[in-house]
Structures are given as C-alpha cells and as structure tokens.
C-alpha cells in the first residue's frame, strides 16, 4: 500500500482558470489498491484536481501518468485512457434518455466493443451488486438520488476501470440516502479498487481511506493517514477546517 506500485502519479501539476491559479505544483501519487480521500474547503481545487486525472480539465504544466503512461492529448488515446478511469459525479449525470440498463451497456458496446448480450450480462451483475437488480428497465428520473448514484457507480465499474474518481458523490443526496452509496464505495475499497474520493464524510474517510490529502488554495498541505490527520492535524488551515466541519 505504499507508493511502490504507483498507479496515478501527478508531478508539478499547475492549472489556471484565467488569472486564477487553482492547482499549484501538485505532487500526488496514488498507489494501486490505495484509497485516497481529498478534503479541503470549498474552492480549494479538489474537483479540478480530480478532473485533471482523466483530463476533463487539461493542465497548464506538469505531468500526469496513469499506470506508467502519460495522459495522451485529445484523441483516440485519450478516449481509451478515460475508459480506464471511472468517474462518479456529484450530480450523478446518468444519461437521462436511456434506461438504467442502457446506461450500463452503452459505453461497453460502443467503447469496449462488447456484444449486447455480454454487456447486458455484465450490467445485470453490477446492478445486482449495488442492490438495484430490479431497476434495470427504469429511467434515471424514476429513481431516488441514492439509487441514481449507485447506478452511476455501476456504470463506471462496467468499464473495468483501473482507478475510480469520486467527486463529492454524496453531497447532492438526502441524508438518509448517503449511507447506501457509501456502503457501495466501502465494499469497492475492501475489494481493492484504487480510489480517489473527494468527500467530507469523515466516517467514510476513517473507515475506508488509507490516506487523507488536505488541500487549500490549490495546494496540498497535508497527506497522512486518516487517524493522524483527523486526530492531530498539523497545519493551521487543517485545524481551522476540521473545527468548522466538526461543528456541523
């Protein structure tokens, strides 16, 4: 679980939005099977960092490699790489005009070139795994938020990703639905999926994460085990941040 087997490596990554410097010299290595929780105040660049890993946001300088290969520029290579990096969004982003089953089969068929039967078999297995086997024929709008997010996770898993990125996957959910999603994520973590998770769910961070990375103002300020970070934060920014979220 150390960086002996690095899967995702960011080094010297910088990113601007206009004059706003949102990522400042980011160095981050995520080992295979490691679960990293990204935490930090709103606007600190967590989402942007997550999105650079599958190049939904291009970077200005620095390098990002996944499984030893640098991120390709726009084109076929990039599409292939993205299919190996799962991404789960805060707002689910299920395809609104497709059924749950089609949401899970579409990219398998079009990107992975699997047969329809093969894709459906895989889709049904994954739906069963996230506890939604009976929802296959429904449209996303007919599901609760928690169910939609579990479908979104299953949709990513259908591509057999090497790493999964989660950008605040439970922030848009009603409180009673948060756990069903975290439970699925916890299982994934136990099964050895490499994960980068932006979340403020401390329970999840403590129970599932190998490492907590604290960001503020586009910089990584701390990178430590959950126990160390939550019980003995080093920087004032982290202490301040933790005191605020712990009050709620």
């Amino acid at each position: 679980m150390t960086s002996e087997d690095p899967l995702v490596v960011l080094s010297g990554v910088n990113k601007h939005f206009g004059s706003l410097h949102v990522l400042r010299d980011i160095d981050l290595t995520v080992a295979r099977n490691e679960v990293v929780v990204l935490i930090g105040p709103s606007g600190s660049g967590k989402s942007t960092l997550c999105r650079t890993i599958n190049r939904l946001e291009p970077i200005d300088s620095g390098t990002i490699t996944i499984d030893g290969r640098p991120l390709p520029a726009e084109g076929r290579g990039l599409a292939r790489l993205r299919s190996e990096v799962g991404m789960v969004f805060q707002s689910f982003n299920l395809f609104a005009h497709k059924t749950v089953l089609e949401n899970l089969t579409l990219a398998q068929i079009k990107v992975r070139k699997r047969s329809k039967a093969e894709a459906e078999k895989k889709a049904r297995e994954l739906l069963a795994r996230v506890g939604l086997a009976d929802q296959a024929p429904k449209y996303p709008a007919q599901l609760s938020g928690g169910q939609q997010q579990r479908v979104a996770i299953a949709r990513s898993l259908a591509m057999d990703p090497k790493v999964m990125l989660f950008d605040e996957p439970t922030s848009a959910l009603d409180p009673e639905m948060i756990n069903e999603v975290l439970e699925v994520m916890r299982t994934l973590a136990v099964e050895g999926m490499t994960m980068v998770v932006v979340t403020h769910e401390m329970g999840f961070a403590r129970s599932a994460a190998n490492r907590v990375v604290f960001m503020a103002d586009g910089q990584i300020l701390e990178s430590r085990t959950p126990e160390e970070f939550f019980d003995h934060p080093e920087t004032d920014r982290a202490k301040d941040f933790l005191s605020k979220i712990l009050k709620h």
Partner: protein, 214 residues
Amino acid sequence: MNVLLDNFALFREGFVGTVELTLAAGLIAMVVGVLMAGCRVSPVRPMRLIGGVWVTVLRNTPLTLLFFAVVLGLPRFGVVLPFFTLAVLALGCYTSAFICEAVRAGINTVPVGQGEAARSLGMNFGQTLSLIVLPQAMRAVIPPVGSTLIALAKNTAIAGSFSVVELLGTYRTLNELGYDIVVTFMWIAIGYLIITLTISAVFRLLERHLEVTR
C-alpha cells in the same frame, strides 16, 4: 375559380417545383446544419472556426445575393450545373446556417454533465454528440427547425427569378394570359399555405412523439 381549374397543370408544376426545392434544400440544410453545429461545439479549434465562419457568412448575406454568387460565381470555376441544382445549393447552404444555430442552441440546453459523463466513459466526440447530447437536444431543436424550414419553403420563391419553375413564378404566365392578378395570387398563397401547414403538422407530430418517448 377558373384561374385554378383552367391552369391546373401550370399550378401543379409550380407547386411540385416548390415542394422539390423545399425538400432538396431542406435535406441539405439539415445535414450541413447538424454537421456545422457539431463543428461549432467541437474541441478542435479549426473546426469551431469553420463552423463560425460558415454561419456568420451565410446568415448575414441576403439570399438573393447568395443566388447571384452561386449562379454567376460557380461557372467561373468551371462548375456548370442546372439552375435547379444551383438554387438548391444556395437555399440549402443559406438555411443550414439557421439550422446550425437552432441545433447549437438545443445542444446548450443539455446539461454539460451529460457530455462529461459520456467522455469520462471513453466515448469520443462523435459518439458523445450523436448518442448522448443530440438525442437530448432534439426536444428543444424541433420547434425552431420547423420555423426555419417554413421560412425555407417561402424563400424558394426567389428561385423563380433564376429560371427555376416554382409556385410564385406561375403568376407571370397567368398575368400575360389576362387573369385577375389578385385571384391568381390568392391561389398561389393557398399553395404555399398547404406546404407550410404540412411542415407545421409534421413537426408538431415529431414534438408530441418525443414527449411520449420520454
């Protein structure tokens, strides 16, 4: 009443001419318009530029001027085509600019997260656009495209001034034959109404169909 019955063959020929112009130019406008909309939202800068120039030039040129450009310009490059084809080209390209903007506006109604999810699953630009974004843009695109095609049907009248047989042009013959010009124009107007109302009906059906399948 006699104007129509006495000259039914003439009216029919003009009517069919207008329908043919509308259908052929409409087809070109749809295909080129969607392609250009794709260019305008493409991640590749030169493509966006092509789409932008296409729309800006065609949307801001008077249609009659465009007809002259095609009829007088293409032969200079050794391209000799029948007037009907030239008219279809002029009308199709002109209308494609408006279709393009209608489609692009529709694309903008689809949440960006839909495209991002598709791309993050490894779909390329073409797949993302055709499988995820355009189908969801359809509902917003149908009404303005209907209006654009109705405008096209009426714009075909300009082709009459360029030796193409179409509905409005029938008035010249009928006028020479001494028929009441007002009555003649009334029948011509009814001919256009038949075409435009048909387009409206088809698009209303499409719209309702899309509502049901959602």
